[in-house]
């Protein structure tokens, strides 16, 4: 099946993670132009090193959920954004009852309130085009958090709500949105957790293996395509069946 894409420019937040580095070449191969965002120079270096064969076929930008007041600059510099793949997420695992009050407040402000500003800005840009597609990279933890994932899961669930409403409210203007909930992905912080848990965890996976960053990236490309535009206002779980049974 050949996928088609109405738009051209894809803003990708948190793009220096393994999924982002797997996603960018796929987008470029589809004729799209990704703008890959990271929150520090090291992330930009990671992107440059990982995508050296595609130099000139993507852009980069600074994006930090801790600096929502600077988000507007991205949209001012790139008024042609048609797609958003939102993968940025802060890292703070703790029992809710053990959370540091200040850090808890910052975590929710960055991962929920600042993300609302991102959705607002992206929506306004897309309304001008009367076209847009937004995908939030959520997590299976939004529906089924492990112990210590209370803030993470709650922030993912809240963010899914933002994207659900964007799809609901803007659908009449050709703008749709959805969430994707991957389970255990053998990449980034997921990989660290998998290494800690060892074989006991893989035995719980119905398919006997974890999800790769490339598999998530390919799913994202499909969900961005015109074919998938009716996946709107929903969050789809992609966990190999891990959370489907006891």
């Amino acid at each position: 099946m050949n996928l088609t894409f109405t738009g051209k420019t894809v803003l990708v937040t948190g793009a220096n993670c393994g999924i982002g580095l797997a996603l960018a070449p796929l987008l470029i191969e589809e004729g799209l132009f990704p703008i890959l965002c990271s929150r520090h120079s090291k992330g930009k270096e990671t992107i440059g090193a990982g995508l050296s064969p595609w130099a000139g076929r993507y852009g980069t930008a600074f994006f930090d959920l801790a600096c929502p007041e600077q988000m507007g600059e991205i949209f001012a510099d790139h008024p042609e954004i048609h797609y958003l793949v939102d993968m940025a997420q802060g890292d703070y695992e703790t029992l809710v009852a053990s959370a540091d009050p200040g850090r808890l407040a910052r975590y929710m402000a960055e991962n929920v309130a600042a993300r609302a500003e991102l959705v607002r800005l992206a929506s306004r840009t897309m309304v001008r085009h009367r076209f847009g597609r937004m995908i939030f990279l959520s997590s299976a933890a939004a529906g089924c958090p492990g112990k210590g994932q209370g803030l993470y899961g709650a922030s993912k669930l809240a963010a899914e709500g933002l994207y659900r409403s964007a799809g609901l409210e803007l659908g009449s203007r050709g703008i749709t949105a959805m969430g994707l909930r991957p389970g255990y992905v053998a990449s980034g912080r997921g990989e660290r957790f998998i290494e800690q848990q060892g074989q006991a965890l893989v035995k719980k996976m119905p398919g006997g293996c974890f999800i790769s960053a490339d598999e998530v990236a390919r799913a994202l490309v499909f969900f961005l395509s015109d074919t998938a535009r009716n996946f709107n206002g929903v969050a789809i779980t992609m966990d190999g069946g891990f959370t489907s049974g006891k």
Binding site: R124, V127, R128, R173
Partner: protein
């Protein structure tokens, strides 16, 4: 082209109306059937057309009822409260809004014209 004609042209395009149907006294919601998503598009289009930063809450009088209710609770004349908080609204027009509030959303095309005019000063 004067501000009214520019605003009318924008509204006609977004609301899919003939320009002749849009008068300065036309109510956006009550008569022109503008919905929330239409108003968002109008705000974005006017910001581009006039080169101004349009604040949706102000141009569409979104907090008008709260403003009037707060004024009542604090013993403040609602007309004074409107003029102080929405500087593009003249006293006479604020009085009309207070009197008209019971019949539904009071926003008229001329209020948008007043807003863009105020921002362009």
């Amino acid at each position: 082209m004067d501000n009214f004609k520019r605003v009318r042209h924008t509204l006609a395009e977004i609301l899919d109306l003939d320009e002749g149907e849009i008068l300065p006294e036309s109510y956006l919601v009550r008569e022109l059937d503008a919905e929330s998503i239409d108003l968002l598009e109008v705000a974005l289009a006017l910001s581009t057309e006039f080169g101004i930063e349009v604040r949706d809450d102000e141009i569409f009088l979104k907090n008008l009822r709260i403003l009037i209710a707060d004024a009542g609770e604090n013993g403040v004349d609602p007309v004074v409260a409107i003029v102080e908080n929405l500087p593009h609204i003249q006293e006479k027009r604020a009085g009309e809004m207070v009197a008209d509030l019971a019949d539904g959303p009071v926003l008229q095309v001329r209020d948008l014209v007043a807003y863009v005019g105020h921002c362009c000063q």
